[in-house]
Amino acid sequence: MRSLQIYFLIILIQNTLNLTAQNCTYEVEGNIYDLNTRMPIPYVTVQIEGTQNGNVADDSGFFKINNICQSEFNLSISHVGYHKTVHHHDIYHESPKIYLASDEFVLESVVIEGQKPTGDLTSTTSTLIKAEDLEVVQSGSFGDVAGSIAGISTISTGQNIVKPVLHGLHSNRILIINNGIRHEFQNWGVEHAPEIDPSLADNLEVIKGAATVRYGADALGGVILINPPKIELSEHLHGEIKLAGNSNGRSGESTIKLQKGFNRFGLLAEASLLKQGDLRAPDYNLSNTGKNELSFATGANYHLSNIDIELYYSHFSQELGILRGSVVGDLNDLDGAISNEPPQNTRSFSYRIKTPRQEVDHDLVKLKGAYLKENQSFNFQYGYQVNRRMEFDIRRGSNNDAPSISLQLISHSLDLDWNHPQINNLNGIIGIQTLYQDNNNLPGTNTISFIPNFNNSRFGIFIIESMERGMNTFEAGIRYDYQYSSVRGRDTDNSIFRNELDFQNITATLGLNHEFSSNATFRTNFGSAWRPPSVVDLYRLGKNEFINETGLLRFEYDENHNINTKLVSTIEKSTPNEFGLKWVNSFEKYNDRYNLDITVYSNYVFNYIYSRPAGITNTVRGPFPFFVFEQTDALLWGVDLNLFWKHSGVISSLVRGSYLWSKDVSNNDFFVGQPPSNLQYELSFKPKLEFFDETKISVSLYYSFKQYQAPKRIVSLGQILEAQSKGEDLFSEDTSNFDFLKEPEGYFLTNISFRSTIRKFTLLLQAKNMLNVDYRSYTNRLRYFADETGRNIGLSFIYRI
């Protein structure tokens, strides 16, 4: 105890000495770039505020100021033709990269300290959508926004439930990191979208490699990071108010964002409200596709020389409707629904949301701390998430008001990491990540839940090291994960089953970042990733409209290789982890004329869990095909391309495309629902218009190819019913993948946008599906029932405070 007191005393004295001793030996250096072109700006003046001390950057935009007396200070950066900016800096933070915004734009200048705000892996390919581009797509759902990145597509259930697909993998196979915390939700199946409002985000970054070593299990396809605005110090009160409306769905949205930075203290508050009515396909209403959404977030950070503390809270709630005409009772109904247009129950426009519908809530509390020393930092992050989900189906009587799924998932996570100082050219990070989860069924569903109650405890430890050798940066990392799950569920006869499951794995990554020159980079990364089977993979049971699925631990084969479904407690089976090996290569070259980015990847996933047809079951409603969960090996490879070409100061082009090849290699079969290839061309004009400060007009042409890798086996409902009447089972002999309907043809969409800024006002006018094309998307589960949405005119109005 005594020694502890002395220790405190010494620290206190040290502190006092630090503050009083005016030894002017501190220094700062950094680089200055143009925010728009990302090229260095030479000869910029940088000054320590309140002193005469300062310097001018050299011709490569590099500056250095010596003999600074304080350990923290405000840097004032000014240059002709650019917004002046002030950056609060201290000696513990890394050299700042300052991006100055040109006077022509309303955008604020940006300062980035250190390499990158999020990525700890330098050899992994990543793509970032900046705030300005985000503005254009922000009205969409999180999935839609992410889908605007090359390599990401979407899988959806109607227009309101959209999930991102990264290089052919989705749901439990990609990770979503919301504000630094793994977004923990009911991430199974196609019908549960992440509860995140992109309109509150500042940027969105996609890591295309298997970043499991850094972020933990499930990142087989990659990681999507979505970040709120950074809370800055020493900033005047600023923010924006946005009002947006859309003709399709007659929706209205308002968003407000405010920020203020004091000397040691910064504050952020944001809120967004959205109401949407029934959407419309070109020829008819999509009844019951309304949506209500409310989200807000607030955060504060506190800065004390070498300590940063951040507290953040966000809330998201959403109620959404699902196309009424997509509800069918049996195969005959499905047959009718497929051939009928418009779908059944199509009514006139309404804002009312009836069953089938979903109500979801998500709360996040984050406490983050960083202790910065010269060349090293300790980081601590605690996250608390509560996710509630209720799903209402069309049911009889009073059950129509009772949810058929009602789940609450509580997650605590604690991450500790240490960016260690350079040791023999090695830079690196060592970290521990823990998670505790509690999932509970809430009473009152009047149906036996197939999702059991469970508790997950997860522990992971990792180390990633990198070494620079001339133009090359080598990178290597290794990680160990352990997960313990305790599961309690109800069997079909309401009896209780319990299970305890252990999972563990070692993953590794190896990469190289080679710079040909300051504006051409080649990255290659080879990484492994894993995912334990989820409770849904293990215990799923029952009918989902017209499909009947049975989880890994719900069935067994008998001696004659017939499928036997028994009570869970009687089944013993090994269910190995999914394990993936992903190799990603990318080449990036940019200058003031063009910006080229090509990514080539391949991903081999062992023990890939999927549902395959296993037979026909007759129920009181007639025959249904039933599917069982099996494990196989999958191979996916593909190419993403992004090319921006500036033809002149006024005209520019953007070409973006992605190609994916995927196959079940064990069974030599194609998977159902993989995203088809697509290609997009956008032509933009930036004319100098009288009265407007800045104007951009874009015409975008988007083509989605037909999915040539859809299963070739099409089993129509007529065939199933006919076989049924002859007493044949089409699926017990031939268990290859099939679809009820042939894959839809490719489609071509035209979008136009006009964006203009007058001082603090920005006007954004957009027309989507301008030609009102009727089409169906292969990756929309409701493609059997209705067309996609028709023309939409959107108008947004942004005022910057």
Binding site: N332, F378, R395, N455, S457, N494, K543, N548, A614, V620
Partner: protein, 216 residues
């Protein structure tokens, strides 16, 4: 505020010294294992609430009561696992006598929860309709082959909903001469759609079963 600053500062300093000093690696491991044990020990043991499976129809029972007689012919279809992969069993054939009038009552049961779905359907008569079809000639009244192929074809419904539209839990039948064929029962849920002309292709199917029927 100053106190908080000092506290936080020392927390981090302590953490740093812990990591920096090699001797105290054991302590770090101790802390990690403590956190881990905390995580494992807070596992609860709650089980999902027992829910009554109210919706699924597992048993469909047809009872043909001969008018002016005591004979009741019962034909059952039973699916013990409901929506599960095990197929429904049609337990009995319908065997009727020729030229006789029968009062058919259809009962729907959920044997798992021990509930009668018949009452629920009756309570929501305005949203439900039972369609029937049979091999032409088995019955003299109604004649024809039922209203599945054509809604307008005759069925002797004995019950109706609040709008005066038929429901079909109770119907009247007169058999024809000796013959054999099948008998199909389809229960549709037609909320907001049911009308005097709504057909079997509208709404959602709750029951669709076929029995063998013999008149002998």
């Amino acid at each position: 505020m100053k106190l908080v600053e000092i506290l936080v500062f020392h927390l981090f300093t302590a953490f740093e010294s812990l990591i920096r000093t090699p001797v105290q690696i054991e302590k770090l491991i101790l802390i990690i294992s403590f956190i881990l044990s905390l995580y494992v020990s807070c596992n609860d043991d709650d089980v999902p609430p027992a829910e009554n499976e109210e919706e699924i129809i597992t048993d469909v029972i047809l009872s043909f009561d001969a008018l002016g007689g005591v004979t009741t012919i019962t034909a059952r279809a039973v699916d013990p696992d409901g929506e599960g992969p095990e197929s429904i069993q049609i337990l009995d054939d319908i065997v009727l006598e020729p030229n006789k009038t029968y009062h058919l009552k259809i009962a729907l049961e959920n044997s798992v929860a021990g509930e009668s779905i018949t009452d629920e359907v009756a309570a929501e008569a305005a949203e439900h309709l039972i369609f029937l079809a049979w091999t032409d000639g088995l019955f003299s009244d109604p004649d024809g082959n039922g209203n599945i192929d054509n809604r307008a074809d005759p069925i002797n419904y004995l019950d109706q909903d609040s709008d005066g539209l038929p429901l079909g839990l109770e119907t009247l039948w007169t058999t024809g001469e000796i013959g054999a064929g099948n008998f199909r029962v389809v229960l549709k849920h037609q909320p907001g759609i049911k009308s005097s002309s709504s057909t079997v292709t509208q709404g959602e199917t709750d029951v669709d079963l076929i029995w063998d029927l013999r008149v002998e």
